[in-house]
Symmetry: C2
Subunit: 114 residues, 2 copies
């Protein structure tokens, strides 16, 4: 079983659009902190913090190269996050089918599903 703290950090890391953007960008290949900061208009220091969060979550690994710091993806923890969601999603699927039917039946006869 995956440790709770890992899920905490991974989900928290994913909850910020800037950080999701960084992940997407790193998907195209490694980048330096400066390269990551530039398109966001953010300061280096600001981006550094985001990278730190991602690194703490295990989603990126970094390496000092000369005076730059190369960042690249390490998507393994995403498997954990994915596993959590899909495990419960599957578990709930039946329940929800049943409950949806039950509740729509006993609260109001209006079909409000998208």
């Amino acid at each position: 079983m995956v440790q709770q703290a890992v899920l905490d950090r991974v989900f928290a890391a994913l909850s910020d659009p800037t950080r999701r953007g960084v992940l997407v960008r790193l998907g195209e290949g490694p980048a330096t902190v400066g390269e990551l900061a530039e398109p966001t208009g953010m300061t280096l220091t600001g981006m550094k913090k985001h990278v730190q969060v991602l690194e703490d979550a295990g989603l990126v690994v970094t390496e000092k190269v000369g005076r730059t710091r190369q960042c690249r993806l390490s998507a393994a923890p995403l498997d954990d996050a994915m596993a959590w969601i899909s495990f419960y999603q599957r578990l709930w699927a039946r329940r929800l089918d049943g409950l949806d039917a039950y509740f729509t039946m006993c609260t109001e006869p209006e079909g409000d599903k998208k």
Copy 2:
């Protein structure tokens, strides 16, 4: 495409172990705020806030029943979170295969994979 703000809220909601616990518990069936609070030793007010966060994320729906508030799952937004992860995960899979090989080859000849 799913809106960023939705992903923000869903991932943020999932980043707290108490809230993941609530989701798991609600998977077994609807519960009142009090029933959710009891096993955590938390105050009603505290749990109410967590439920609010989950509701804002669209992960639960609540309904006032008498003097209690019934909470139940609404797992649809999980699909969005899942979709985001799995989309990029698949996109990155090849890259990472390639990059892993590349980097392990050109940084150090040590296999540091768990």
